[in-house]
Symmetry: C2
Subunit: 512 residues, 2 copies
């Protein structure tokens, strides 16, 4: 078999797997939007069946043979050429899936399915004790998984001998490492603490009260769709629906779906949630359709995905120029709530800082502190330095230390997120990496695109989105995430643009 024939077969297999994933995405989207509740049992069977087909396809020994043929050929001489890029992506998945015994994969699937159900109930009952045995079980399995993945790391890269956490993290942010993150986060934390202290000590006060006035739901939907379209989200190739926990679903090329959740007395909940998902959507809509179904046509990492989401949600959607443009429309639609409000006041309200116990509802100034403490806690859990039974205490202590607040109970505390019940250890850092990438991207766009604020204030977002497409979207997985951001911005990974952006924004708002 010629290397070219092997490569062609790999492409065909890759595209077929993508069709399977696309089906899984649609089933998942439907489950969370329109499926009647009676359909849940059939849906879980469908999901398990498709997941099984996917696993078989990905670990098929034939896949390994084809990968070896291409790896040994001149097709991959150019490390940024399609064949080399795709081979890296395929190999990563193949090696990582193949190294895990099928029994472990199945046990993890079973344990995390139950653990997630138990977690839901435990959270409702505000009882960590109910969840603890399942956390222990998931941890034990994830440790085994991490050990398998470490060995793969050594095969792919002989110098790789890092922790289980490093190994697990590669599923979410390929190329990231604990030492790199520790360095980055330990530089970030004191800066965020200083900023928070300054805001706390500021004489000037802000308030988010005007966001809790009456915002009719149907108008929220109109406003959200209008803004999304203005930012560049193509509704011919996507749609917006309502759900309980907002998410983005990349069904396939030409079909990217965002969801949100409306609250009549909280303008921010649906609107910024929507902008966040639209950020994910713009990334997927900007991938190269011709490479769909291969790593070259797929998003780079969770961190980069999150960067785009946070960029549009915060960098654009919580900026003053954005509201200078959109506030008049908002005031027309929400006349009762906003007739006595000015754009600047609204801008201050959407940036009101209040340290709290909840990650998802956190403002820009405190959000990363929620992540930093989770990064420490989950490493301690994995290494065994922190026993699950001691988690609630450790959690609450860190919240006092980092944010000066204390959860009223475990539901508000260490049970608030579902990642651990799903076995996703190593996922949390991608949120803060996303914020750091986003700030680097915005700073670089400002430096190269002229008066970006002026453009936003005129409702012009196309130049910025085109710049992102050119530098980011269209490259798919051509580069590891950190390299992609470095190429796009001309700067290596750096926490300072994020700190700088926060200092400027809150400096003006709070007079600090």
């Amino acid at each position: 078999m010629t290397p070219q024939a092997a490569y062609d077969e790999l492409v065909r297999r890759s595209r077929e797997r993508s069709l399977l994933v696309s089906c899984i995405e649609l089933l998942g989207w439907d489950e969370l939007t329109y499926m009647p509740r009676g359909g849940v049992e059939n849906r879980s069977r469908q999901m398990a069946y498709l997941a099984g087909l996917y696993h078989d396809a990905v670990t098929d020994p034939r896949q390994g043979e084809l990968l070896s043929i291409v790896a040994a050929s001149s097709l991959v001489d150019d490390p940024t050429g399609p064949a080399a890029v795709n081979l890296r992506g395929w190999r990563r998945v193949y090696e990582r899936m193949s190294c895990q015994p099928k029994s472990l994969v199945e046990e993890l699937a079973r344990a995390t399915t139950t653990a997630q159900q138990v977690w839901t109930t435990a959270r409702q009952n505000e009882s960590f004790a109910e969840f603890r045995p399942w956390l222990e079980q998931v941890l034990a399995l994830v440790r085994q998984q991490g050990e398998c993945l470490r060995s793969v790391g050594r095969i792919v890269n002989p110098s790789y001998a890092d922790s289980i956490y490093d190994a697990l993290m590669q599923d979410y942010e390929p190329g990231a490492s604990v030492p790199q993150l520790e360095k980055l986060f330990s530089a970030l934390r004191p800066e965020l603490a200083r900023l928070l202290d300054a805001i706390r000590g500021a004489k000037r006060r802000t308030s988010g009260a005007i966001l809790r006035r009456d915002y009719p739901l149907d108008r929220q939907k109109i406003f959200g769709e209008t803004v999304s379209a203005a930012l560049g989200f193509d509704f011919d190739c996507g749609r917006l629906d309502t759900t309980t926990h907002p998410f983005f679903s990349p069904i396939g090329p030409g079909d990217s779906r965002v969801t949100t959740r409306y609250n009549q007395n909280d303008f921010g909940e649906a609107f910024f949630g929507l902008l966040h998902e639209v950020g994910h959507g713009l990334y997927e809509q900007g991938l190269e359709a011709e490479h769909y179904g291969t790593p070259l046509g797929e998003s780079s990492s969770l961190g980069v995905h999150e960067a785009l989401a946070r960029l549009w949600e915060n960098g654009v959607g919580r900026s003053l120029p954005f509201w200078r443009h959109f506030f008049p429309q908002a005031r027309e639609l929400f006349h009762q709530a906003l007739h006595d409000v000015e754009a600047e006041e609204f801008y201050a309200a959407v940036n009101h800082v209040r340290p709290g116990v909840n990650r998802v509802r956190a403002d820009e100034a405190t959000y990363d502190l929620h992540i930093l403490l989770r990064f420490e806690l989950e490493r301690a859990l994995l290494s065994g330095d922190l026993a699950p039974t001691d988690l609630p205490g450790a959690w609450n202590e860190k919240y006092r230390d980092y944010l000066g607040v204390t959860p009223a109970n475990d539901a508000e505390g260490c049970l608030q997120d579902g990642h651990w019940s799903a076995g996703q250890f190593g996922y949390f850092p991608t949120y803060t990496l996303g914020n750091i990438y986003a700030a680097q991207l915005l700073a670089s766009a400002r430096a190269t695109l002229g008066d970006l604020s002026g453009q936003f204030a005129c409702g012009q977002f196309a130049t910025f989105n085109d710049w992102l497409r050119e530098r980011l979207y269209r490259h798919g997985q051509r580069y590891p995430a950190a390299k992609l951001i470095e190429n796009a911005t001309g700067q290596p990974l750096d926490h300072r643009p994020l700190v700088e952006a926060l200092r400027i924004k809150y400096g003006e708002l709070y007079g600090i």
Copy 2:
């Protein structure tokens, strides 16, 4: 391998194929309800991929081996026991799929995909000439398919040596035959002609004008959902959405979805379309969930499915007792349109007879004439007695002959239905079979359930639906359709209950 082990593997395979079909159903439902138009290319790739997986699963030689083991065993001694019923269903599909060369299946899929697109455009352009070459191509392929299927008929039943049309029809109404249908339909036609003549000559006139008043869309939806729930449709295990061409989609157990299309100035379009789909839905919701994924848990035939749809749409929904109960609610919801109307007038309006050129919009008195002429035309096309180029002329002549009307153009004439472009020759008779079955069922229910009209007039439909569940739904494919209806009603296949029901209804309405 023991017969029991073979049977168990067949059940497992059958359930897996059902999960695939369930995915295909959901993708199809989404395509016609919510999918953004940009998603069409990816969707067709997903569909082709899943269809390929289904075809491979169904024609897997292993399937044939397992079927032979079970067929030769004592497991199938009881012809109405689960093993025998399932074996018959599996074998029919296996033999019919396996006998067709893969090249033919692929060519048919390609040709009908294009033919359906061409048909859509040709209809828009009112040009049969555009569609003719594709009809010829589809006909040639369907003839080949019919030849393959005939040979299978001979294998399964050595005395079977019937026409290509007989062979094709087994996909839609297993067990039906051309001689049987000819006998039935030739008895039915003069009765329908006599009835239509009498209505035409009646002194008393009816009108459907009140149905074309102003019916606000949101209230149509409320009324439709209220009635559907009252008839027994379980919205915890189903839902209602809007689409262009209403359809029913059996996603899986606990998940049956109906759709309809609203027209503010045509009450009947959404409402009776919905009752029709709800009839399909009640059947699927009444199948035995424990047998889901095997023939014993699947609907019997298209004719039986159509019978349930027509039974609830016409037998129930176009009856006077039904409107005695629901009209007061309708008048409250549609006060502007109906404040000066009485239940009896409304009942007369929903039963207004007007011979027309369109099958889908036809009233109960003329509907079957549309089917009977299609049954004749499609057999003539298949046999070669009618050349495609002569179809428009033959079509229009039959419409003059059967219904006394002439289509203004081919779009209103022989291009109105998509069945032939999809290669579905032998499908049309199931509509009239459905009407015949429905009338037999209603007559039998009246004879056994006491005052059925009285129950309907009190809004009680549960006894009737339970009767259908007991006699029909729960049997799945235990019996061939005709035998199932005979068991349910105690009478062999008979056109007279349909004629009798129409005579009574229109006799009263038109004073004939």
